[in-house]
């Protein structure tokens, strides 16, 4: 077995993830390399979910009965866990949403409806990048179309990094918001936050960071990032689906208007008008995803018990090994950085002119689960002149043996279509 420095004790960790024992396609061992799409869930999270429903289920912030109070304490306890996990200065800065897409849409809509000085209108500009997930493109296109604001973006270099050479022309005095991904879901690139934030602060623009592929994989510190908003989702970090997070700076959350209206987000309501609850509740209309928040809290406990710095080191070692092994596969071209430097553990590639769909199908037959397609980042495919990629992505339970299985599987693909 391949031993690499920095690896976690995956033998022990994998025991926590029941699905990893599954056999697929007539007895083949599952090799799950689709972690950038969603992670698997440890038993601790599954138990927290069923325990919540078995023992505590009630609506939150409403009842005076025991279950309501306990459910509320669990839901708000999850908020505390998230706040600590990302080093938020205040728990009131953590808004629960249903996913990162909703978090990013929420920011776009806050700014679209805001008063000065935050308001995005036809005289202002929005800045994104060419490597964004569609969830950090489309909300800004909608805002741009509805307000007349100009949408601008950073292009990409040939080796899969942001081209910041014209940063002063892209981010200008007119820029109201710069929204970009911390770790690309398709290229794996880790972006230089500091350079972008510094320029945004120079011109007084707000900064929103999509941390969907970062929060599961590295220590997060929203204060160190110096952003104004940070969005991520629970299901990629061992949590359940249906729970996302938007962190926002407190003074902004106080000033900015709500987006969704409904129960929970109000202070008083009359037939003529309403006043709103303070953040974060102002942005959490309706019954929230309670069990899912509790599940996310359990996921955070689980990740903390292993250590985010250790998870980062594990994935870095795996990524180093993977780029080395993949380089041995003839006709394989990595789309994105070809070294593990400033790179996350999602690796996209093409294999000669074999279409990724076919690559994925033949890999699946061997029990190897990868993602194929444009990964909700079609502009990246257009930029590199490819229809789609195959993507392998790793997590804390991934092993060098699984990378070996992938490389062997790709040999089989080449023979099949050769």
């Amino acid at each position: 077995m391949t031993q690499l420095p920095g690896l976690l004790d995956t033998e022990a960790i994998r025991k926590d993830f029941p699905v990893l024992d599954r056999l697929v396609h007539d007895g083949k061992k599952l090799v799950y390399l689709d972690n950038a799409a969603t992670s698997q869930k440890p038993r601790q999270v599954l138990d927290a979910l069923s325990e919540y429903y078995e023992r505590y289920n009630a609506n939150v912030h409403r009842g005076v009965h025991v279950l309501a109070e306990e459910a509320t304490a669990l839901y708000e306890g999850a908020r505390d866990k998230v706040a600590a996990f990302i080093n938020a200065p205040s728990r009131d800065e953590v808004i629960f949403t249903k996913n990162a897409s909703e978090s990013l849409n929420l920011v776009a809509n806050m700014l679209g409806w805001a008063d000065e000085p935050y308001r995005v209108d036809h005289e202002t500009e929005i800045v994104i990048t060419e490597m964004e997930h569609h969830s950090n493109i489309v909300p800004w296109q909608l805002l741009s179309q509805r307000t007349g604001a100009k949408l601008k973006w950073f292009g990409l270099t040939d080796d899969g990094r942001l081209d910041l050479s014209n940063i002063n022309e892209i981010i200008t005095e007119k820029t109201k918001i710069v929204s970009f991904v911390l770790v690309s879901n398709i290229l794996g690139t880790v972006n230089p936050v500091e350079a972008i934030v510094r320029r945004a602060q120079e011109v007084g623009a707000l900064v929103c960071i999509d941390a969907s592929q970062a929060a599961p994989h590295m220590p997060m510190d929203v204060q160190a990032l110096q952003a104004d908003f940070v969005a991520f989702t629970g299901h990629k970090m061992c949590g359940p689906t249906g729970i996302g997070v938007l962190w926002g700076r407190q003074e902004l959350l106080e000033d900015l208007p709500p987006f969704l209206g409904g129960g929970e987000m109000i202070e008083t309501v009359s037939m003529h008008s309403s006043t709103y609850a303070p953040a974060p509740h102002k942005f959490e209309a309706g019954t929230p995803p309670i069990a899912q928040a509790v599940g996310l809290g359990a996921a955070i406990d689980y990740l903390n018990s292993i250590g985010m710095d250790k998870i980062l080191a594990h994935e870095h070692a795996l990524t180093e090994y993977a780029v080395k092994r993949l380089a041995e596969v003839p006709d394989l071209r990595i789309i994105g950085p070809t070294t593990a430097e400033d790179r996350g553990a999602a690796i996209s590639f093409t294999l000669g002119d074999i279409h990724p769909h076919d690559v994925g199908q033949v890999l699946d037959e061997q029990g190897i689960a990868v993602r194929v397609g444009h990964h909700c980042a079609r502009p990246v495919c257009l930029r590199y002149g490819i229809p789609a990629t195959t993507r392998a992505s790793f997590y804390l339970y991934s092993t060098p043996a699984e990378i070996d299985a992938l490389v062997e599987g790709l040999e089989h693909v080449r023979n099949f279509f050769g």
Binding site: H25, H355, P356, H357, V362, G373, H374, C381, P387, F416
Partner: protein, 154 residues
Amino acid sequence: MKLDSMYQEVILDHYKHPHGRGLRDGDAEVHHVNPTCGDEITLRVKYDGERIADISYEGQGCSISQASASVLNELLVGKDVSEAQKIQETFLELMQSKGRIEPDDAMEEVLEDAVAFAGVSKYPARVKCALLSWMAWKDATAQALGESAERKTA
């Protein structure tokens, strides 16, 4: 092995040596995409009265989608539209069967090489690939014949 049931030799052969590929003169042109995987096809139809004079296409995509376009061309060019529609409907039925239809002789007579896609119908994610060019043809035909009908009445 299950894979061989999807990737029949005849499919791989159409993929590697496609029939009628390339865009030529047509009465109508459509562009269809499969947004989940990025498969794309631009397809033109040329009618000579009721008869399909040509189906020309250009696209990118997986072996299934590309082979399917090749089979479509081979099967439908030269046929009358009514017969082509019957073939299209039979192919659609087969592809939506979730692997439950075992093509019989009658079906094989209608579909010829296209029966090779029976195995694909077991893979929900790939059914759309196989149907991409067929849906494009249906759309293009509606446009082409719709327009010529308009021309006749004009």
